[in-house]
Symmetry: C2
Subunit: 226 residues, 2 copies
């Protein structure tokens, strides 16, 4: 009996990783459309959103089915309730990628404001955080989850820097305002993706170490791999 439930849980995690892969791909394509100035790529992002939404509905149903048929307790129960939360985070990550693609469609109608260096760098960082948070979840790796929380500070720092730089563009040339605004919003969407990864990582630390670090996150409290 127990064996079959283990298999169901493994399958649930596997589907969750597939959902995360689609969300990751959406971020990659959205940023690529912006950097390579290829508007046709934004359509791919909108199409992939449907797949994420299907995963959301399917995985939520599966969690509820497992809760009612298997009536899990302790770690299994926490794994399923955490999965429910992660599904929501991933769906919102996909929303952010859609927002970026929409902003890209506006930005690509006008000449480039500046070479994009910080934004792709920030995207890479946010994607690494998302990948690590899910890996930490499936591998029960609280140290890796701690790394995700630390990376979030770096993302916030880049976000502030981008904001300040674009503000100077706006001040110097009113014609740059709409484009600068759109880039600021892209940067905020990436920052939010990093926040979702951080939410997931905090849940992992909670499951693995039983401590809720959410609202008193200090560096010395984070699990470390050292």
């Amino acid at each position: 009996m127990e064996r079959h439930f283990d298999e169901e849980l493994r399958n649930l995690k596997h589907r969750l990783l597939e959902m995360a892969d689609v969300a990751q791909e959406m971020i990659s394509i959205a940023i690529r459309s912006l950097v390579e100035r290829r508007e046709e790529l934004t359509k791919e992002v909108f199409e992939l959103e449907d797949r994420v939404n299907h995963y959301e509905v399917e995985l939520e149903e599966e969690c509820i089915r497992l809760l009612s048929t298997r009536q899990p307790v302790a770690k299994d129960l926490r794994l399923i309730t955490a999965t429910l939360k992660i599904i929501t985070d991933l769906e919102r990550v996909a929303d952010q990628a859609v927002n970026i693609a929409e902003l890209a469609t506006y930005l690509l109608k006008e000449p480039p404001l500046k070479p994009l260096i910080d934004i792709p760098h920030m995207a890479t960082l946010a994607q690494r955080m998302l990948r690590n948070s899910l890996e930490a979840f499936v591998r029960h790796d609280a140290a890796l989850a701690g790394e995700v929380c630390r990376d979030d500070d770096e993302v916030d720092r880049i976000n502030d820097q981008i904001f300040r730089e674009l503000l100077t563009y706006m001040m110097e040339d009113p014609k740059s305002i709409t484009r600068a605004m759109d880039l600021i919003l892209v940067s905020r969407n990436l920052e939010r993706i990093a926040d979702h990864a951080t939410n997931i990582a905090e849940d992992v630390i909670f499951i693995e170490e039983g401590k809720n670090i959410k609202h008193h996150l200090r560096d010395e409290e984070l699990p470390s791999s050292i």
Copy 2:
């Protein structure tokens, strides 16, 4: 036996409404600090955030305890998994209120850019949506939840209008840029609060009517009180 569980569920809903009340109060005070230009009020918002965070931890633990000790099925199970999601939404609503209070501290350091009419109006609407979504949840009122989803379109419309108006301010006078940017961000925070209310309302419709309207939301599919 069943009686005691019913009481526990009632108590859970009651605590959830208390948490929502604190989040609502945070929005009210944050907007009031901005409109009445009273910086001292922003501190109250930051203090109330702690209370919301305590509710979050406490209510999540209570949901997990009920899942493992009562092993609910069917409607009771969905009520608890929906509560888990609503807790997350309310915590993020509180985050948005904190963001607004932070933006207020910047805005109040400079002379007012314009009289604030649309932003308080948008806040009132977002708060009504939040109140109605929770009332729909505790009263099992899918028609009221449908109303929340419809109100979201109006909030989006006001958000767009505010954005366009402030953009013209920025174009005309570079000195207005930072203040206009901050007001745009306040408006986006309110829009996000309305989105959280909509998430809650969609969950209510899902529980009450068993249909997941999330990703194919059309007006004719919304439950109506007529």
